[in-house]
């Protein structure tokens, strides 16, 4: 349960970007999160209103884009979808795979109003 501290790190970055762009306020914050990031989107949504209070993003909306879990097989080369606890190749079933997407925890973009 570290979503609140992740939210605080998020707001610190949002405030920095807002300063760099001489923004008056932040309207929207877009995150991209993979299922293996160790962070729960729903809990982040709950923590966000607490963390944004009193910041330049006090009225900002949080948009979370959930990224797919994809692996590439080192045996047959196929790129397939996977489940968080079954990272095996969807084509040949081999477990020698490499994660292509799914562990991201990214602040993707910010929409802001300039003063």
């Amino acid at each position: 349960m570290h979503e609140l501290s992740v939210c605080q790190a998020l707001l610190a970055q949002v405030e920095q970007v807002a300063r760099e762009n001489a923004a008056h306020s932040v309207e929207k914050v877009v995150l991209r999160i993979g299922p293996l990031s160790g962070v729960e989107p729903r809990l982040l949504q709950d923590a966000f209103p607490i963390a944004r209070a009193g910041t330049v993003a006090a009225s900002a909306e949080l948009v979370i884009e959930e990224l797919p879990l994809t692996v590439r097989c080192q045996n047959c080369g196929a790129e397939t979808a996977a489940a968080p606890n079954r990272l095996i190749c969807g084509a040949c079933g081999d477990w020698h795979t490499q994660l292509i997407s799914g562990d991201e925890l990214l602040l993707a973009s910010i929409e802001l109003t300039k003063s």
Partner: protein
Amino acid sequence: MCDTCGCNITPGNKHLIEAGGKLSHSADGKAAVEVLHGLLGENDQQAAHNREHLEKHGVLAINLMSSPGAGKTALLEATIAAMKDELRIAVIEGDLETENDAERIRAQGVPAIQITTGSACHLDAHMVHDALHHLDLAKIDLLFIENVGNLVCPASFDLGQHRNVVLLSTTEGDDKPAKYPVMFRAADLLLLTKSDLLAVLDDFDPARAEQHLRQLANAAPVLQLSARKGAGMDAWFGWLRAETAARRAAARKLRPAERFNGVFRV
């Protein structure tokens, strides 16, 4: 997560950061700014600094993770008792409250720094950095960081360690890797602890535990041991010897070879 810069950029999401991203302007004229930072960037930066600091001194740092009661402290006690004449060992202990574990380690005659996290469920790189300031790294070969007992949060925070060792005790069930994939995916070594209890437990199959680990695309070695009975400990000591030797060799490579009378001394 990306170990070097914390940016989390993979071939699967790289297109998102390239010019002309779809979020450059919004319909109502508000400015949209592409950022794409890893949200744990600050932690990862501190972790990289910790790792650099450890490597300069040739210290191997191992992050020990497990659920509470899997036997991390008992493993450390047995490891220190067997290896303290061979390797200079120190321990950083993470718990919500009490100095109990640090006291158990100090009783073995090695330095132990206790971090009490209050209600935080994991250690982070900044806490470890503060603890490192209380240790003389020039006098340490092997640093164990005993993380807070928790199979969820510690997996998300890089501390600056070189290896993750995850303990799974036989009393917990062999399907833990399937239930806690983020943690077990991060393991460089899986220790099946309390193996002496296998004889009386009919629901823990070491082969099944290993199979669940492989399904996370993790090729880490799996060792069975009992710290209390001393079974299987030699393989664990062997792994530690090989890893500390590799870290020392890497540290020597960091220093330029000295030229002396036409002979390279390393």
